[in-house]
């Protein structure tokens, strides 16, 4: 399909109708930015692929600003040699009209939706009711490289492209039967395998069977282990039976041996009796010898003790006598000390104590007399204070003076009187006579008092003023208040006068003096009373008179008791007396010490004497005891030897018995030789045999218990139905495994089929890609001067890598510069255009896409564009700069100026 003409109006900047014509070869649309180049291509795409009824946002944007008219465009194009015209208006009064040229005239073939549908069929488009996207535009997706659209589709080209390519490249097109088989393969493949990774699909029968079998195998293994445990138990049991058999044989042998040993022991009793008799004889002899030796030993011990006691006896006697003599000496010494302190020192002490008593009495007498004097003095002071107190108290009683209360009452009356007086004065009527007269000419009744102002009087009561030569003036107050004040004043005055008369004073000062006099007297009486109380307190609780009398009696008694005292002592002063007493007490102390010392010596001698006496007594007692003991021991020895006659006889008897013992021991040794052989050894063997039999019986019992235990465990296992469980599980596993084998085979087979289909499909795609790659690569060599040689396309005919001759390696496409990448995309689209235009020219649009090419590359690209436009395709290139394209022969369209107005 190529286009001849595009007319448009009310389309963005083209408000007025414009018509642009195109050559079937190379067309260069030139215009400054915003001139409307891309608008032309937009109109081309929207009219060819968008539904006329679409009100999508993209369509609304076409409407010129502030215009309500529907955007409208008409395109004349040639498809399959047929000249066709499509006219569409969008939004407002939309229309779609598809016409074809017949005999030089346009005839309307279809309109509305049908026109849109027919047009889609022609263009192999796939547009929905919304605005079309590149993938809806059939071949145009590959051949129209418009602005604001991706250089390449993300995954695949539109279906129409591959179909057309396949048709052109003569690959076999799929048939419906093949499709059905391939669908069956895909469906079955999807049942077992994941489409992405080709792994077994989770939850499919194959996976479930594998999982189930694995699980069952584990269960089976557990059961098998349990079963093998039973087998082990049985093996153990076999061993236990073997042991039991062996032990039973051993027991029988041991019991036989025991019987034989028992027979051997029959002679043992006789030998044992002989041994017992001989043992008894030897024991008896030993006991006898032991008794005799013990007796001899006792006798000898007594003899030795007697000898020792005799030694001690004389020693005790000697010690006792010596103690008695020493005791007597000590008694004499004791008496000497006693005599000294009793006869000599004690009388001296008595005398000193008497003297000291006298001295103390003299001193006491002096103290008593002193006390008597102090008491006397006190009593005088007390009498005087009492008298003074009584005088003052009497004076106070006789005093005519207000009490404190009365004084306060008076003061209060006085103050009130003063206040009322002032009030009366303030309330008094003041009369001033402004007459040409003298004061003396004015008389008042009662007499009114003058104020400080001349001829002015103060009137408190109704008053008559008699003014000489003028006459009388009666003055009185207008209300009762002044009279009440005057009355109150008089009342207070009367009360004050009464007080004055009661206390016989003339004025307040006198009364105050009287009151002050009372206060002073009262204070004085109070002080005297306090002094009297203090004096009384000094002798509180005592009767001073009794005390005085007691002192006098004591002084008399004491005076009598010291009558015998030397006169010099009586004359001694207090100090002299005290010194004398101290001297005497010192003498007394010395005497007491001397007496105590003598008494101590006396006591020491007495203690020594007593100890010596006690010692002598003890020694005497010891002597007596030893003597008695010797007698007793001698008697015991006599008694012991009574049976033997003498000690020598006893010694002989012991020797005789020892000989008998020696003979008996020899006999026993002979018997013991037989005893060891015929009694001890057989008995030991018998005991061992008995022990062996017991042990074997015990072992057999244990063994039997083990057998019972293992049998029980085997039975328990059988009761669990282990054997059939294993059988059932094994059967189930067998079934599952058979099913798994079948499913696995099916899964593997379908995978093989699927993989083969994929491989063949891939080869198909590769076959499609081949011619395209070849053409692109030729252009690429031309464009890059052999820097890049080969563009690798994937099975979807999308470029994935490029062979770099400079680096000798393949590079990923995204490693190229933006410009190179864009140029490769242009080359790919040109190559697709060339291939797809094998039978009919197709339109290739390149909307301002080569701006990043350098001049050299641009020149080479121009050559390629020229070749393609000459041989295969209609090409429309939009640019704002036509210089790089000057080398190309073609039709140049200036936008918008070349748009002819219809």
């Amino acid at each position: 399909m190529i286009i001849e003409q595009i007319s448009l109006k009310n389309w963005r900047g083209y408000r007025e109708p414009h018509t642009f014509s195109f050559d079937k070869g190379f067309n260069l649309v030139v215009g400054r930015n915003e001139a409307g180049k891309s608008t032309l291509f937009e109109a081309l795409a929207r009219v060819m692929f968008d539904r006329f009824s679409s009100k999508a946002e993209e369509i609304r944007k076409i409407q010129p600003l502030n215009s309500s008219l529907g955007p409208e465009a008409e395109i004349i194009f040639i498809d399959n040699g047929k000249r066709l015209k499509i006219k569409k208006r969008f939004l407002h009064a939309p229309i779609s009209e598809l016409s074809s040229e017949r005999n030089g005239r346009w005839e309307l073939d279809h309109e509305g939706d049908k026109a849109d549908i027919e047009l889609q069929k022609i263009l192999k488009g796939n547009s929905s009711s919304r605005a079309s996207q590149p993938e809806h535009r059939g071949l145009a997706q590959a051949l129209w490289y418009l602005q604001n659209e991706d250089p390449l589709p993300k995954k695949v080209w539109a279906d129409g492209i591959k179909q057309d390519l396949a048709g052109i490249i003569e690959f076999v097109i799929k048939r419906p039967e093949e499709d059905a088989i391939c669908t069956s393969i895909d469906d079955l493949y999807d049942r077992y395998w994941t489409s992405q990774s080709g792994k077994i699909k989770s939850g499919c029968e194959l996976a479930s069977l594998r999982e189930e079998i694995s699980q069952k195998e584990n269960e089976f293994e557990d059961l098998r282990i349990k079963a093998s445990n039973v087998e082990n138990l049985r093996l153990e049991l076999e061993g236990f039976y073997e042991i039991k058999k062996e032990k039973q044989n051993s027991l029988i042998t041991a019991q036989h041996e025991l019987t034989s040993q028992k027979q051997q022991l029959e002679n043992a009793d006789r030998i044992e009796d002989q041994k017992r008799v001989k043992d008894s004889e030897i024991t008896e002899l030993n006991n006898k010898i032991s008794g005799l030796e013990k007796e001899l030993k006792t006798i000898d011990r007594r003899i030795k003790i007697i000898y020792e006691l005799n030694q001690k006896l004389s020693e005790a006697k000697e010690v006792a006598e010596r103690c008695e003599a020493d005791s007597r000496i000590e008694q004499n010494t004791e008496e000497k000390y006693h005599q000294k302190w009793k006869n000599d020192l004690e009388p001296q002490l008595k005398k000193i104590e008497d003297e000291l008593s006298l001295l103390h009495k003299i001193e006491n007498l002096s103290r008593l007399e002193n006390s008597k004097e102090i008491l006397h003095e006190y009593l005088s002071k007390l009498s005087k204070a009492d008298e003074e107190y009584k005088i003052k108290k009497k004076k106070l009683t006789e005093l005519i003076a207000p009490s404190k209360h009365e004084w306060h009452e008076f003061e209060e009356s006085w103050d009130q009187f003063q206040r009322v007086e002032a009030e009366a004065k303030a309330s008094a009527i003041r009369i001033k006579f402004d007459l040409n007269i003298e004061d003396s000419d004015i008389r008042s009744t009662p007499t009114a008092s003058h104020t400080d102002v001349k001829h002015e009087y103060s009137v408190l009561t109704p008053t008559i003023f008699d003014i000489k030569k003028i006459g009388k003036i009666h003055v009185r107050g207008g209300g009762s208040s002044l009279e009440e004040i005057i009355e109150k004043s008089q009342s207070f005055q009367k009360s004050i006068q009464n007080t004055f008369s009661r206390f016989n004073v003339r004025n307040k000062q006198d009364l105050s003096d009287r009151y002050q006099n009372r206060i002073d007297l009262e204070r004085e009486v109070k002080q005297l009373k306090k002094n009297l109380d203090t004096l009384l307190d000094e002798n509180k609780g005592k009767n001073s008179d009794d005390e005085f009398r007691r002192l006098e009696q004591e002084i008399a008694e004491e005076s009598q008791s010291i009558e015998s005292a030397p006169a010099t002592w009586k004359k001694l002063s207090g100090k002299g007396l005290r010194e004398k007493i101290i001297q005497t007490e010192k003498t007394k102390k010395q005497l007491v010490e001397d007496i105590e010392k003598e008494q101590l010596m006396e006591k020491s001698s007495r203690d020594k004497s007593r100890a010596l006496i006690q010692n002598a007594i003890d020694e005497r007692s010891k002597f007596e005891r030893s003597n008695s003991e010797i007698n007793s021991l001698n008697n015991e020895n006599v008694e012991s030897l009574k049976n033997y006659g003498s000690r020598d006889n006893l010694v002989t008897l012991i020797e005789k018995n020892r000989n008998l013992l020696s003979t008996a021991t020899g006999d026993l040794n002979h018997i013991l030789m037989d005893y060891e052989k015929m009694v001890v050894l057989p008995r030991k063997l018998y005991a061992e045999g008995e022990h062996k039999v017991t042990a074997l019986e015990e072992q057999i019992r244990t063994n039997e218990n083990q057998i019972i235990d293992r049998n029980a465990r085997i039975e328990e296992s059988a009761a669990q139905g282990l054997y059939s469980q294993i059988s059932d599980l094994e059967g189930l596993l067998e079934t599952k495994k058979r099913r798994l084998a079948s499913v696995q085979l099916e899964a593997n087979s379908i995978k093989l089929l699927h993989d083969m289909v994929i491989a063949l499909r891939k080869e198909q795609s590769t076959m499609l890609a081949g011619p395209i790659s070849e053409l692109v690569n030729r252009y690429l060599v031309m464009l890059t001067d052999d820097s890049y040689a080969g563009l690798e396309l994937n099975e979807e005919l999308l470029p994935i890598a490029i062979q770099s001759n400079r680096y000798g390696t393949q590079l990923p496409l995204d490693s190229l510069s933006y410009g190179t990448h864009e140029q490769i995309v242009v080359l790919l689209r040109l190559a697709l255009g060339v291939i797809l235009s094998k039978n009919e020219r197709n339109l290739v649009v390149i909307d301002d896409r080569l701006v990043n090419a350098d001049p050299m590359r641009m020149k080479r690209l121009s050559l390629i564009l020229q070749e393609v436009s000459n041989n295969s395709c209609q090409i429309i290139v939009a640019t704002c700069n036509d210089t790089p394209y000057t080398g190309i022969k073609g039709h140049v369209i200036s936008v918008p100026s070349d748009g002819k107005l219809s």
Binding site: S724, S727, E730, S749
Partner: protein, 376 residues
């Protein structure tokens, strides 16, 4: 004159694992057959019953198996039953015979555990050869004394093992001349599961088949011995409940299939069949084969006691393959055919040359099945 029933290898509690989830039902069928033998013994008025080993499958069989078997054996009463331990149920410590449940057997049941002559009265003696271990290379009948010149009894041996006429090493070998050498009137044997007779030595075989490879199993024998040293008469009686069969054959056309169906019908009711079928189906134009096969399989699936069906389509018919649509599917089919023929397929399918043949064969079958419009 003495008449007795000789049976062996009951294998009670048998696993029958190869029958998958039917194994339990197969185990249960053996009780039915055992019950039939009780009835036969009573009908035939036998003097006693000999069970020549392997009454039980294993010493570990479930308690319920022992209990049910004892219940059936007790129904023989008052007919005495002499049971010999075999290599599957040897007389070993902790073995089946020690079970408490076994102790419930009636007094007519006699477990033969000692190698000693047992006088049954009426001038009949049996010579038991109990098996006391799982394996042995010693002849269990070796202990049986030779007939004394003066011995006028009917001497019956009972043993479990393999006659030494077989090549190679065998378990519990028994001299094929035993009966002659020892002067036995009859040697009642067990161990072999198919009926076999060697003079006066007879294997009755198992009373109920245990596998597909037992051509003449499912019998018991009624033996009549008129007098000492007189050849015994015996009657082989079929008693099995199930019929085991396996087929492995090629189906090339509809005739093959019809012949196969005839063979199946000859086996009796499908409901008693335990059957394994392996078919190799040759590809052909005639879709009737596939249709009829499907019908047969559906029928067996529904009716047979147990069915194991496996089939492969093996041969390549170029004419048939031409029916596949040209293009991609045809390419896949050609690649698969090449692999089966041992060739390396054309690229890009050459990478699949090493695929397992079974997988390739199956893939080919599936492709044809898709072409036919579906897969089972």
């Amino acid at each position: 004159m003495v008449r007795f029933l000789h049976t062996a290898d009951w294998q009670m509690g048998m696993r029958a694992v190869h029958t998958g989830n039917k194994s339990k039902e197969i185990r249960l069928k053996r009780y039915v057959t055992a019950q039939k033998i009780v009835n036969i013994a009573q009908q035939k008025k036998v003097g006693f019953v000999l069970i020549a080993g392997d009454l039980f499958e294993h010493p570990d069989v479930d308690e319920v198996v022992v209990k049910k078997t004892v219940d059936i054996l007790n129904q023989f009463a008052p007919i005495p039953v002499f049971i010999l331990p075999g290599n599957h149920d040897p007389y070993i410590p902790g073995g089946i015979w020690d079970r408490t449940s076994w102790q419930r057997v009636g007094s007519h049941i006699h477990l033969l555990t000692v190698e000693e002559e047992i006088d049954l009265g009426s001038n009949v003696a049996i010579f038991p050869c109990p098996v006391k271990q799982k394996r042995s290379s010693l002849d269990p009948t070796s202990w049986i004394p030779k007939r004394a010149i003066t011995d006028e009894k009917i001497r019956i041996g009972i043993a479990h093992g393999s006659l030494d006429s077989l090549p190679g090493e065998i378990n519990f070998p028994i001299s094929i001349k035993c009966a002659d050498d020892k002067g036995l009137d009859y040697l009642a044997l067990g161990d072999w599961h198919s009926f076999s007779q060697y003079g006066r030595s007879i294997y009755p075989g198992t009373f109920e088949p245990t596998s597909y490879d037992e051509p003449d199993s499912g019998n018991i024998v009624i033996v009549d011995i008129p007098a000492p040293q007189v050849s015994p008469n015996f009657e082989k009686l079929r008693c099995s409940t199930l019929t085991w069969a396996k087929f492995s054959l090629d189906i090339q056309d509809i005739t093959d299939l019809e012949k196969f169906e005839e063979k199946l019908k000859a086996l009796g009711s499908y409901s008693t069949l335990v059957i394994r079928i392996n078919l190799r189906i040759h590809i052909q134009h005639d879709d009737r084969v596939f249709q009829q096969l499907k019908t047969l399989r559906d029928e067996l699936d529904e009716m047979a006691f147990f069915l194991q069906w496996e089939q492969v389509e093996i041969s390549v018919n170029p004419d048939l393959e031409a029916q596949l649509p040209e293009g991609l599917v045809q390419g896949v089919n050609e690649a698969l055919t090449d692999i089966l023929l041992g060739k390396i397929p054309q690229p890009p399918c050459n990478v699949f040359a090493g695929e397992d043949r079974a997988v390739v064969q199956k893939a080919k079958s599936m492709l044809r099945s898709f072409r036919r419009g579906g897969m089972k």
